[in-house]
């Protein structure tokens, strides 16, 4: 509990202007990679040529607690993108982290952007 609060605070307060997470070349097109920011593990999905090219959600699988979400397969249904969790294939919508097959599950979402060949992590948008 307190750990979660700590993480959220760092994310909110310390980086009002955003920080560089990694290089664009670290991304794998149409697939995911994981990056770390402090205690946070973030799954980055790069979908070049689509409306939103970069998504970031928590890398931690809410069911198994294992850091694996970035290793899931990216799928699309009716124009919306999701990731299928590697172990039990729950589908999480990349735009808001909502689990499409079990509404009690949700991935935390992060705000990111691609700028000058770099991946930026931004403070949460309200």
């Amino acid at each position: 509990m307190s750990q979660l609060a700590y993480v959220t605070d760092t994310y909110n307060a310390a980086h009002s202007n955003g920080i560089v997470l990694c290089q664009q070349t670290d991304l794998v097109p149409f697939s995911g990679v994981a990056a770390r920011f402090g205690q946070l593990a973030i799954a980055l999905f790069y979908l070049p040529g689509t409306d939103i090219e970069l998504y970031a959600v928590s890398h931690i699988d809410p069911v198994s607690q294992a850091p694996i979400i970035a290793h899931g397969l990216v799928g699309e249904s009716n124009g919306e993108f999701y990731v299928a969790a590697p172990l039990h294939k729950q589908q999480y919508r990349l735009s808001d982290g909502l689990c499409l097959s079990d509404s009690s599950l949700k991935l935390r979402v992060f705000t990111v952007k691609l700028q000058q060949d770099q991946v930026w992590l931004l403070p949460p948008m309200e």
Binding site: M1, Q3, L4, V7, L21, C22, Q23, D26, L27, V28, P29, F30, S31, V33, A34, A35, R36, Q39, L40, A41, L44, L47, T50, S58, I60, D61, P62, V63, S64, Q65, A66, P67, I68, H71, G72, L73, V74, G75, E76, S77, N78, G79, F81, A84, P86, L87, K89, S104, L105, R108
Partner: protein
């Protein structure tokens, strides 16, 4: 405590009908247990499929016929008393007695079946005079065939002809002796009988009709001699009597139950005998003066008796249809309803073609509007339609002859659509078209589901074709499930996509989806297409255009475990490994503290590696001479082997070398699902080859090939495909088989399901693979050759390519996580994942 007395339900006879009664009864008793069910079996084995008894001679395996597993009885608290026939029923004290004890009953069910009738011919009790009813009888026939040359069946009815076929299969010169002027006098008319005779003679079985046997004496050339009333004789080494069956009704008769003039315990429509505590079902029961020598009516009685005993009076047995359809020695024969036209005023229509060897007759009601009966010889494709007309009283078309005339293009086929909802499709399990539709409406989606939920087509199997057409018709009428679209991105089946890839020479997913699909793909189509591309061109799965298509396990060339770590499975072809290699695996496992286990596939699995450790571990394994085992891929897993002739005193071929050869030949080939193989060095089958997709068993002369078996959720024994093959034949058949499977199977379909869904099944597969009926043989072999030539160890490739290797960094911007972050504890000296309670709160 003891006030709540358990009531005793006793069943005498564990034949097909007795067994069906048990199943029906248990299904009704799921929630209450105030009954103890005890079953007495006269034979020394639990119920088996008598209808398919003759399979014993084609595959020599009696156990395959058994209807339920041995554990079924204890699991369901049924006491099964094998080899303990009931000797008497005492209705006053309500007990039955056997040689061992007496047992009280509250309710009693007689399911004692029939016994073969042996005509009172002098000399009929000598050795080598046999009958055809039980597995023990077949064992006796088999033993008697040893050293025999000629076999005679007395009786030219349905069973007699089946027995003659069995004798032929035993390699004997077979004769059938029939008292009546024609074969199958009960089911066929004169013309039908004549045609059947000529067909059977063409197959090499001698038929002697109009022959009364007056005595059996010792033979001069053969063991025995049949002396006929007309003075002629016939010598033979063994005789099988198949002169009809008689109800096994002695117990009931002795107990004073009412019985018929020609035998059979009389029952009412609730299957009750003249004693309301005693029921009779199956072949020992007589209903309104009629005996029923088929399973379907027996099953109906079993169902009725179970329901009535369970307090449900709404069920009743009201007689049954005795129509039959069968293939005797490869000849189609069908008989429906009033085949002899005995109904006063009935009209008959016949078609007889001696050139084609076909005969068909319709028996119509006096007004010509209803079908009362039919006879078919030579072509049973007319049977299902005619049976439905007869059973359901469907009004005949204006020109009923069109129903039996050949190739009249507008033959009014009674399609599945025309059947009324009340039409019974499966008489064994009493399943109507309406019940099928209801099941489909309740969400059952395919034929297999229908079979398992309604049991239709799981009895005699006679209704299978009709059931399939009804299910397919109903599915397509519902517009849903028949769709073979892979997913929302492709309106094609896997098979169609495979063709598109091949024909257009498509090399990437993007090319395929932009030309033939829409959207961006999903976790269904991406791996399926990745597998097709790999099967066609065999480019490394981690090459740039393919990497984002793979399932997690393929992406990381390892199987992800429940805590997010991975397993490592090096290939150990045929299970053979040198001590040095074994030591090197041990060293790696020790260094990385990997949990180590011998798998069910004769190799070693190392568990608990983190993503970052995988390349390090694999580098060491590759340096030690290992390659990837593809434990993660839909591809060849293991080729299991026994030691074979190298060491084993029984081995007749070198099964280890063959297993290694096969494993090295097919490793890395991507397929719709995983493939497993095994090679045994002799018929003892220590490698369990018959449970594999491809099973090879050594013979004195080469190899027997078995195909399409699997273990797993729904085990299926492989079918014998070809015998005594040379090495070259074996490889060519397996090449063709695998490639044809890759070409035509659905996604995630193992070979067994694939074969079951192939129109024509095993025979068709043999035509394609062995006889090359599609002319595809050379092409299939060439395509397989390409895959074999393009093989590379994916781990070696990945390690040599910096871009691929980078994928194994857990984080793109941070150091590898410590292994302890994944949570391990020690058990029996090794590390295993922490046993987690699932919590949805996110922590790191």
């Amino acid at each position: 405590m003891t006030t709540n007395k358990t009531k005793q339900l006793l069943v005498i006879g564990n034949g097909m009908v007795g067994q069906h009664f048990i199943e029906q009864w248990l299904a009704l008793q799921q929630h209450s247990s105030d009954w103890q069910l005890t079953v007495f079996a006269g034979e020394d084995r639990p119920a088996y499929d008598r209808v398919h008894l003759s399979d014993y001679f084609s595959d020599g395996d009696a156990d395959k016929l058994q209807l339920v597993a041995d554990s079924y009885y204890p699991d369901n608290k049924v006491q099964l008393k094998l080899n303990e026939p009931v000797l008497a029923i005492d209705r006053d004290s309500k007990t039955v007695s056997t040689a061992k004890a007496s047992y009280p009953y509250d309710k009693l069910v007689l399911a004692t079946g029939s016994y073969p009738f042996v005509p009172p011919i002098p000399g009929n009790d000598q050795p080598h005079c046999l009958v055809y009813r039980t597995i023990a009888d077949l064992e006796a026939i088999s033993a008697s065939s040893d050293g025999a040359r000629v076999g005679v069946v007395i009786g030219g009815g349905l069973l007699g002809l089946e027995a003659a076929n069995a004798l032929k299969l035993q390699g004997l010169e077979a004769h059938v002796v029939e008292f009546a002027p024609q074969l199958m006098p009960v089911q066929l008319d004169k013309d039908g009988g004549e045609l059947l005779r000529s067909k059977i003679e063409q197959l090499g079985v001698s038929v002697h009709t109009d022959k009364a046997t007056s005595s059996i004496t010792a033979g001069s050339e053969q063991r025995l001699q049949l002396n006929f009333a007309d003075g002629s004789v016939l010598q033979t080494d063994l005789i099988v009597f198949s002169a009809g069956i008689r109800p096994q009704d002695a117990l009931g008769k002795d107990a004073g139950l009412e019985f018929g003039a020609h035998g059979g315990i009389a029952i009412n429509h609730q299957c009750q005998t003249s004693d309301s505590n005693i029921y009779a079902i199956g072949e020992c029961a007589l209903y309104q003066g009629q005996l029923f020598g088929l399973v379907a009516p027996g099953y109906q009685m079993a169902r009725t008796a179970a329901a009535v005993l369970n307090g449900d009076d709404s069920h009743s047995f009201t007689g049954a249809d005795m129509s039959t359809k069968l293939k005797l020695l490869g000849v189609d024969v069908g008989s429906i309803g009033d085949a002899h036209g005995r109904t006063p005023g009935s009209i008959s229509l016949r078609y007889r073609n001696d050139l084609l060897g076909e005969y068909r007759k319709l028996v119509l009601s006096p007004d010509g509007k209803q079908l009362l009966g039919a006879v078919l010889v030579g072509d049973n494709s007319y049977y299902d339609t005619l049976l439905q007309y007869a059973l359901n009283g469907i009004a005949l078309p204006a020109d009923p002859q069109s129903l039996i005339l050949p190739q009249s293009s507008d033959k009014p086929l009674l399609g599945p659509a025309a059947l009324p909802a009340t039409a019974t499709l499966c008489s064994c399990h009493n399943v109507s078209k309406g019940a099928i539709c209801a099941a489909l409406d309740n969400g059952v989606q395919d034929l297999a589901g229908i079979k398992s939920c309604t049991k239709a087509a799981t009895g005699c199997g006679g209704c299978a074709a009709l059931l399939k057409s009804v299910v397919e018709h109903e599915l397509s009428a519902r517009g849903v499930a028949i769709s073979t679209d892979l997913c929302e991105h492709f309106s094609y089946s896997r098979q169609q996509l495979y063709h598109l890839v091949r024909v257009d020479g498509i090399k990437t997913f993007n090319e395929l989806i932009s030309r033939h699909g829409r959207g961006h793909g999903c976790e269904i189509c991406k791996p399926a297409v990745a597998s097709i591309l790999a099967s066609c061109w065999n480019e490394p799965v981690l090459a740039k255009p393919h990497v984002a298509l793979q399932d997690t396990n393929d992406t990381f060339l390892a199987n992800m475990q429940k805590n997010g770590t991975y397993s490592v499975v090096p290939r150990i072809p045929g299970g053979e490994i040198t001590p040095a290699m074994l030591i090197s695996i041990g060293k790696v496992a020790e260094q990385y503290q990997l949990y180590t286990k011998i798998t069910g596939g004769q190799r070693i699995d190392l568990f608990g590696a983190t993503l970052d450790q995988l390349p390090l571990i694999w580098q060491q394994l590759i340096d030690a001479g290992f390659e990837t085992g593809h434990a993660y891929g839909k591809s060849l897993r293991t080729v299991k082997s026994c030691v074979g002739s190298t060491w084993c005193r029984y081995g007749v071929q070198d099964s280890v070398s063959m297993a290694i050869l096969l494993e090295n030949r097919y490793k890395g080939v991507r397929a719709p699902h995983k493939i497993k193989m095994a090679v045994s060095g002799c018929t003892r089958e220590c490698a369990e080859a018959q449970s594999k997709d491809v099973g090879v068993i050594a013979t004195e002369n080469g190899w027997n090939l078995y195909v399409c078996g699997n273990g797993g959720m729904k085990p299926r024994h492989a079918d014998l495909f070809a015998t005594d093959l040379t090495n070259a034949q074996l490889l060519s058949y397996i090449d063709r088989l695998l490639m044809f499977y890759i070409k035509t199977a659905d996604r995630l379909q193992r070979t067994a399901t694939w074969m079951n869904n192939l129109e024509g099944g095993l025979d068709y597969l043999r035509d394609v693979i062995i006889y090359d009926s599609l002319g595809l043989g050379a092409e299939l072999e060439a395509q397989m050759q390409l895959l074999i030539e393009n093989y590379q160890c994916e781990w070696r490739t990945a390690l040599n390519d910096p871009q691929q290797r980078a994928r194994f960094n857990s984080y793109v911007n941070a150091a590898a996580p410590a292994r302890s972050e994944f949570g391990f504890v020690s058990e029996r000296g090794q590390l295993i994942p922490v046993r987690q309670v699932n919590s949805k709160e996110t922590t790191l």
